[in-house]
Symmetry: C3
Subunit: 357 residues, 3 copies
């Protein structure tokens, strides 16, 4: 695709960076360090990589402020990742093309569908569904009755949006994700049979959220399961009924969150972490990958382990864990020595040092 080219000075202004070299260099796209060439901009995020700047064939480069020995044209910024994200987004942005509703899609009755949409073949919309402006529904998407979807939403192939669920603006949901499956709620009778508790709530996803492929977000038992603005959720994540995920949260792949747990804003939850039910994580909590948390965490807490403990402690404890066999040996040896000493010091014993002369 022939993209419009931008002057390097424009790009530097966009990211509020310091321009080095030729402001008139024309840039038509972004590529990674090793493959970038003429007419492209690339980036180095850390200084080690900067050592190889002479190997770079790109027309310009985004570098961290601390990097001073620059070859050729560059933009110096505090956060190269952020700058490249913004510049790259500029180049790859596609204008929305309103293809309308394909005749091979299935649309229920009483739907409110904006004029500007792109609904693929093999999409299914139930009854009374509302779709905002510039919504893109890929093949195999199923939207159940009474769901409400905002503007500029993209649902990739085979995504399911459950009955009555609400999706905000600028939300992207990747293939196979299931929004609004039933929560896992049962009551057990005297014979050990599990009686299903009806799950009559919904899922609400606020603006600017992204949900990964094959992720599952259960509807609430009552009320709503709630993903707040700007949260980013990776693939194969499980969020139980009535979970609340705070603004700008990051949930890495395969995280599981049990029912009724809530988080503050800007939490970072590593891959394969499990959160128990009915707990709350404060703002800015960070949890290392594979940890298990079953207690509330204060704002700013950084934890690791199963069960999770302060990350600094965990680093030392896990180092000690690898030395446990040695500790067992040392402890045994100490016990032996202390027993010898005790014996040696018993009064009236021939082998006590006091009697030795």
């Amino acid at each position: 695709m022939a993209r419009e080219k931008k002057r390097l000075a424009e790009l530097a202004a966009l990211v509020e960076g310091e321009l080095v070299g030729d402001p008139e260099v024309l840039i038509g796209g972004v590529a990674d360090f090793d493959s970038a060439g003429e007419g492209e901009i690339t980036f180095v995020a850390d200084l080690k990589r900067g050592a190889r700047l002479d190997e770079c064939r790109a027309s310009a480069i985004i570098v961290p402020t601390a990097l001073t020995e620059i070859i050729g044209s560059a933009i110096r910024v505090r956060n190269p990742y952020l700058a490249v994200a913004r510049i790259h987004s500029l180049f790859v942005a596609e204008p929305f093309v309103a293809t309308g509703i394909d005749v091979r899609a299935v649309v229920g009755h009483d739907c409110h569908i904006s004029a500007e949409v792109a609904i693929s073949p093999l999409v299914y919309l139930g009854n009374r569904v509302k779709l905002g402006q510039r919504v893109t529904l890929h093949p195999g998407v199923v939207v159940y009755d009474d769901a409400v979807i905002g503007d500029d939403v993209v649902l990739y192939a085979n995504v399911t949006i459950g009955q009555g669920c609400r999706i905000g603006n600028r939300v992207t949901i990747h293939s196979g994700a299931v929004i609004g499956s039933d929560g896992f709620g049962y009551a057990t009778d005297g014979s050990g049979h599990h009686v299903k508790r009806p799950q009559v709530g919904v899922v609400q996803i606020d603006d600017d959220v992204e949900v990964g492929a094959n992720t599952c977000i259960d509807r609430a038992t009552f009320g709503k399961t709630w993903i707040k603005r700007g949260a980013k959720i990776d693939n194969l994540v499980q969020l139980g009924h009535n979970v609340v995920i705070g603004e700008d949260a990051l949930l890495v792949a395969q995280v599981g969150v049990a029912g009724s747990t809530s988080t503050g804003n800007n939490v970072v939850i590593g891959g394969q972490v499990g959160l128990g039910g009915h707990i709350h994580l404060g703002d800015r909590v960070m949890i290392a990958a594979k940890s298990g948390v079953h207690n509330n965490l204060e704002p700013g807490a950084i934890v690791a382990g199963i069960p999770a403990i302060p990350h600094k402690t965990w680093l030392r404890s896990s180092a000690a864990y690898a030395k446990l066999p040695e500790m067992v040996r040392e402890l045994r040896e100490l016990k032996r020595k202390v027993a010898e000493l005790s014996l040696a010091m018993e009064p009236g014993e021939d082998n006590s040092p006091g009697n030795n002369e």
Copy 2:
């Protein structure tokens, strides 16, 4: 939806509870404590919540037997969760509507489909498929050749039922679940290449089972992978070939069970637990979230950890784990002291206490 209202006395009888207050109060639905209002019943499951009974705006409330200071009308029961599950199910039950087979569904040859079914657009049925009474197939469901599905089954969007698999009565399977994918079985040749072992068995799911969204249940290598009556399986669970899950089992989200492992009845397996292959869990085994089990477990065992150990031991071991760095310090200090003592006690040494006077 205008539900039929029920007298409180009827509801109390349904759950074998003790009626307190006005038996003639009319109830039209169930809501949670904070949102319930006029004409609704709600519940408190624990006594702490009971302290706020005066804030309740519901027309009646389900309370535990131990709660004695009741304001207004109530039903007292041993297990409020069970009572609310039964009463709520009564109110939300929808009569089955036999919409038949939508013309936009694809149906193979020689299928046996009961008269009363609801098959959505964009459903695919292979050849020789059998569907019982009151089966509901949502859009995107794919049922392969020779599968057999019982009565009152609901398959949500994009569920796959593999060739020859058998689904019992009153089974619900949530969106994206895959029943009957191939087991992960290979034999490795002398060059390190993996030769696929054909997976020719099926999956059999018995009556009253519920399977969560995007869960995968592999077909058997030979014979059947078998989910027995009443088992409830959460989202994103993985069950390998030839696994047997006992009656009334509860498997929480993201559990993984390796091939040929079996469980007794009424087991409870916490979220993200992994079970190794070829082991057996006895009846009523309980496994804490995130544990890893690779040995047989006796009936009634309660375990935790990786590898799993008795839960009580694990509680103490995991508490000690957080103190390992301290133990390392203490052990080092003890070694130093014991070395000093040993030295002090060596005969003929000036600093031995025996020579001190």
Copy 3:
């Protein structure tokens, strides 16, 4: 299905095994030990099972070389699993039936589709898609624009192949798998908002790879995420952007691999293992189930635990872990004893042993 029967001598030759008994026995299929009957061949993989050879009703049996007391006809081989895989594959192989493109499939423009394909109803192909010979696409499969698929590929129900992704020959992908979802890449601005980094690379899957149900493989940020020849990936696995999986790797269910991590050939990664980002595993690395790895591993390393340590150490450490409460007690007891001893040895104290006489 009436399969062509094979003489036992033929089967022995196929697997380079030693024939015992009647070379003319006719075999029509493979079954497991307990259900195999007349006209079938079965196998025992270990000698313990061999003790029950007299209970076997199969017409022939595949046994390990070490098993010498054979009843009836048999094939003796070094690796019975490998022999049974090959013989069974011979019997279950189905000739490809080119049913063409079903009229209820949706095909974009400028696709290159080989003459011999089997494309089911409700399949969606985007524009400029290329399909090789003998490709089978099951219902609900979605192949995005510009994807390239080789020969003899099978995509089961509801598989998604993302834009521009490349699938080699003889690749099988099970239901619900998502190939080419966006990588989880964001840069965070000064307000804590996450700005998406465009994910413009692809996924490349080489020949003879098998991918499990509901597994997700993210496209690269730049370049490609790459699954090399012969790798076998189980269900519900998550592979991040720019991951490289080496030849003949085995990844068991629910494994998660963070971005830019690569493996050598013939690695074996147990169920629910997590690999951190930007690390490399050497050839033949083996990782026990549920481990967490965040450092490079040398070729041939065998590790376990979170964080992963050498497997042998882990066995001893995890055994010691269960005894930590006891160690805590012993350590406390030792401290007490050493304190007593120290006190006893202080000069001039009445209770020192040296003053005791």
